[in-house]
Symmetry: C2
Subunit: 265 residues, 2 copies
Amino acid sequence: MYLSKMTEPQVDVEKRAPSRRERVREATLAEIKGIARNHLVAHGRAGVSLRAVAREMGMTAPGLYRYVSGIDALLVLVTADLFDELADAVAAADASVAPEDTDLRILTSLRAFRGWALRHPVEFAAMFGPHGHPTPGTDLTPALEAARRFGATFFVLFDRLLAEGRFALPDSGLITPELSRELQAFADTCGFSAPHIPVEAVMVLSTCWVRLYGVVCMEVFGHLDFVMRDMEPLFESELQNLLTDLGVRYQPPENTASDTIDTSE
Amino acid sequence: MYLSKMTEPQVDVEKRAPSRRERVREATLAEIKGIARNHLVAHGRAGVSLRAVAREMGMTAPGLYRYVSGIDALLVLVTADLFDELADAVAAADASVAPEDTDLRILTSLRAFRGWALRHPVEFAAMFGPHGHPTPGTDLTPALEAARRFGATFFVLFDRLLAEGRFALPDSGLITPELSRELQAFADTCGFSAPHIPVEAVMVLSTCWVRLYGVVCMEVFGHLDFVMRDMEPLFESELQNLLTDLGVRYQPPENTASDTIDTSE
DNA sequence: GCTGTTTGCTAACGGTGTTCACTAAAGCGT
DNA sequence: ACGCTTTAGTGAACACCGTTAGCAAACAGC
């Protein structure tokens, strides 16, 4: 295992005795985020309003300020939850196949990513779309940390792939010194750096991620809606290219219609 | 030239005598869109308000309803203008190199696309980002048509590439019948269909566009900001891969700093 | 039971999109 | 040049929104 430890939540301060008060507080905060999320999917990002959320839970808007520092902060918290949810969905799909079949695990995970995105387009947009002008004061760390946790989901698979020596590393001559520096920074920030992970591998990972991101974004944002009704063939084609470059065995999806296991909701 | 005619604006009804009244009307509409665009770049998409626009031009908000059917429609119009502007920028860059040097033209155009996107991130988000819940009644056709015009900018280059037989068409066995149908629909809608353009070529075009879209979106939306400061090396690397697949000669950018010619603004 | 903290409320300010009724002006036909 | 029609633009109003300030009730710990 090359990865530096990333999946340890209990490094925090001791959390003994949630102290009834904290418990109910946590509960209402969860309710707030839940309702906000419903409004998000129902009326879009702009349709989330503190007043509406408060109304729906029998409160008034100013009361919410005891839990959230503003509408922007609320959306950040919701986004963070979404990242966790997406990570869970991918992990669940990953866990649904034989653990030693790396090829199938990769394939399944990537399809699960797309599947979740298609089933939750508005949420996906909030997570991976442009971050409008984020009101300078807003604290983005919750979403960023959740995004990193999500990234880790793929990192461990990629790490496995790397350990199995599936793909040839690209010619290091193609990697300029500055690119190498950027890649190193990327790996460090994500906890994906380890003595035995060369920058060439990080390069491959970045490229693959960007390609996956591109095809899913294109599909979910609907920028080819007016031109192509079903983008699954194109996705599968791109997926095949991707996996081939990674030395992973591709196989067409089984279910012709909607695919990708998802236990949640 | 394989392309069906796409660049003829005068197919419309005869537009003799703009009739003073129509002229001033067009002028104020242009002013409205201009101010809205300024507010867009200054305060983000959510920062565009009819009242603010009206105020800035010495009017009241309801007056704008003589020109625009609502805030959403206004944003659609602005987006349409942006597509035209982007198309012009790319075309200008394309025209700045020797017309017969197809390789350099492609390279220059693609870099111009990224360059414009980086210089106009908010606008790019409005054009290529998620279309939030677009208020069912809104008419998107202006933006869609402008987007098609923009697409044509790249189509003619790709067409040239195809005519020169630069790249090997992918194995037609990889293209399932349904994918073929989708690709055909894509080509038809875009006016990119012609007797001598095989679906395999459309496939290549789509794939390339998705990859370009992915890397530029990733960069402009800033999803790797916290992890990678300068994404130019990654872009150039992906560009190199892309062009290699297309049989186009790659060469590193000349100016180390900001690049891509842009005569506008 | 008293005290300090937490929670939620009301009131208020300034901002928004949008509709409606209305005036004033510009254009046009004769 | 007159009158009529179309258009441009206004003001008031309604229903929302985010956010702040001040205040009352509920709660926790001593």
